[in-house]
């Protein structure tokens, strides 16, 4: 699971109103090289929940808490974002609903978001 995907995923357990963002508990992470496309990154940034991305990374990255002006022209910044969105992948672990605590397992990079009958 890439962090770009994580940015889109939300908990849909019944009754939960604040199911986003999901907390990441990773036991295995890998990095995969992906071709850098600055246009892709700069256009994707406005579609993201930036704070959720920063939160997901915790202390491991040096992305600013808030976006600076003219980030589209800062190639160094765009490359950092590219790496974080597309190249870092959670292979094993789980995603936790921030409100209910329900855990969704991640295996082979695939998050299993299926709910049980009683949770729907």
């Amino acid at each position: 699971m890439k962090l770009l995907t994580h940015n889109m995923l939300t908990s849909h357990v019944k009754g939960v109103t604040k199911g986003y963002p999901l907390l990441i508990k990773a036991t295995e992470v890998k990095v995969n090289e992906v071709d850098f496309n600055p246009q892709f990154v700069s256009r994707m940034i406005p579609k993201l929940e930036w704070s959720a991305l920063v939160q997901a990374l915790g202390q491991r990255q040096d992305l600013p808490g808030e976006l600076v002006a003219d980030y589209e022209k800062d190639d160094e910044f765009l490359k950092k974002v590219h790496r974080v969105l597309l190249e870092v992948e959670v292979v094993e672990g789980c995603l936790q609903c921030p409100e209910s605590g329900r855990e969704f397992p991640i295996s082979r990079g695939i998050p299993n978001m299926l709910l049980n009958e009683d949770e729907v």
């Binding site: 889109m8 090289e33 992906v34 246009q39 990079g109 998050p111 978001m113 709910l115």
Partner: protein, 466 residues
């Protein structure tokens, strides 16, 4: 980079014919215009397009993602003067064999074979058999870890000059060429059958060239296409086989890549578009997108465990192939296991939804579709970006789909429909645009929240009235 050593000093211009999924002829013509820079002609004989090309640019035809098979035209007649009687007609076909302008087409056939060799065969095979530019793999039904027999590369259409198969080139010219004739005939005014035409025309070709006829191990496949009064004679440049180029792990309903490509072109993926396939099966559509329209991001999802694992296997297979060639292997695609009627995705965050909806024949059931289609369309509308969002949906259950869509005018508008043929079934690819309305506030939303609606009942009532 041009491939210079395989042509003589002059380049010649020939007409190339391509078979494409019926319904996507214009999409294919667009691709030809974009990648080769020429105008393609869409034939009246459905599923075929024709375009001119110079031999120095021949390798470009193998970069086309919307074509199933390619051939070079030997000659074509718009209004072939068929004789009344079978005997006379077949005689004429026989005489035709020695009069046709074979030279240029055969030159192109030879050139094409060189291109294929340079891409790098991994297996010897039975003589210089022509291989399709896309991957032919053995489908291994249910088992996950099937060994993949891939015989050509797909990634770049450029001949790989580092592989050394050139030495083999001399040999085939010395040995006897094997051929076969394949005839396709359509029209109700012909006095003969395709078998008879193939047999007689083939016999004459054999006489003329002194080639050896062989139905299974052939070097040259001569095509005789007869559609009413239109007759086209060609030489195949690809093998007759379905193009499932990206897929090594098949499922029960895997869509061929050319159809996936056609669907993707319909929605015109833009850089940074988030594209979701909520019922991805083996991942054929999002994977084709991640390769061919790679400035968008794809999320493939399914509720079925085997499906998501197959999707990941197919992605890994492509990534490994890229890594082996030294390129950056990562693809802009992820896979999630989810229930499409309750997507774990933020509202209004998806730019395009693209999927192959269950037909109710090989997968699911017609009865299930009555419930599934409306729920699915609503959930897709929720996650889709209002105003700019789009959906491209393939389904054979046109009645159920039309009914479901007609009740959702507040959320979806039909823009265009392409009628296609999928595994012998007549299906529709519907291009929809998401309206600007906020989800949960359209009249239908309010109406539906008042109680469950059974659209099967509605259609039944309508049928009884009409």
């Amino acid at each position: 980079m041009q491939n210079k050593d395989s042509t003589a000093s002059d380049t010649i211009t020939v007409t190339i014919g391509a078979t494409v999924p019926t319904g996507f002829e214009h999409t294919a013509a667009e691709e030809v215009h974009e990648k080769i820079g020429v105008d393609a002609h869409v034939s009246k004989d459905r599923g075929r397009i024709y375009f001119p090309i110079t031999t120095d640019k021949l390798f470009q035809v193998h970069l086309l993602r919307s074509v199933d098979n390619l051939f070079v035209v030997v000659d074509e007649y718009d209004h072939y003067p068929f004789k009344e009687s079978k005997g006379e007609t077949l005689n004429e076909l026989q005489e035709l064999a020695s009069k046709l302008p074979w030279t240029n087409a055969l030159e192109v056939w030879r050139l094409n074979r060189t291109l294929k060799k340079k891409k790098g065969y991994r297996k010897g095979g039975n003589g210089p058999k022509l291989k399709p530019s896309s991957e032919t793999t053995e489908a291994d039904g249910e088992q996950e870890e099937a060994a993949v027999e891939s015989q050509t590369e797909v990634e770049s259409g450029m001949p790989d000059t580092s592989s050394t198969q050139d030495a083999v080139e001399a040999a085939p010219e010395a040995k006897v060429i094997r051929f076969r004739v394949t005839c396709s005939r359509a029209g109700d005014k012909h006095s003969f059958s395709s078998n008879e035409a193939a047999r007689d025309f083939g016999g004459a070709v054999q006489e003329f060239f002194q080639w050896k006829a062989d139905m299974t191990k052939f070097d040259i496949e001569v095509l005789l296409n007869i559609h009413n009064e239109e007759v086209v004679i060609g030489i195949a440049l690809t093998e007759e086989s379905l193009h499932r180029r990206n897929i090594s792990h098949f499922g029960p309903t895997t869509l061929r890549s050319t159809l996936c490509y056609g669907m993707l072109r319909l929605c015109k993926p833009q850089p940074s578009d988030i594209i979701l396939d909520p019922m991805c099966g083996t991942g054929a559509i999002p994977l084709e997108g991640a390769i061919e329209f790679n400035s968008s991001f794809y999320i493939a999802g399914d509720n079925n465990d085997m499906a998501v694992n197959r999707t990941v296997n197919n992605v890994c297979h492509i990534q490994k192939r890229r890594a082996d060639k030294g390129s950056a292997s990562g693809l802009p695609i992820d896979t999630v296991r989810w229930d499409l009627c309750s997507l774990p995705i933020r509202t209004s965050s998806v730019d395009v939804l693209i999927t192959d909806m269950p037909f109710g024949k090989r997968m699911g059931s017609k009865k299930k579709n009555w419930d599934l289609y409306p729920n699915c369309l609503r959930e897709m509308a929720r996650v889709c970006r209002p105003g700019s969002g789009k959906a491209v949906l393939l389904t054979q259950d046109k009645k159920c789909f039309s009914k479901a869509i007609s009740r959702m005018g507040g959320l979806w508008r039909k823009v265009h429909t392409v009628w296609v043929n999928v595994g012998g079934l007549h299906a529709g690819v519907y291009l929809l645009r998401r309206t600007g309305a906020v989800f949960g506030q359209t009249p239908e939303d309010i109406y539906e929240s008042r109680g469950t609606v059974n659209i099967q009942e509605e259609v039944k009532n309508e049928n009884e009235l009409s």
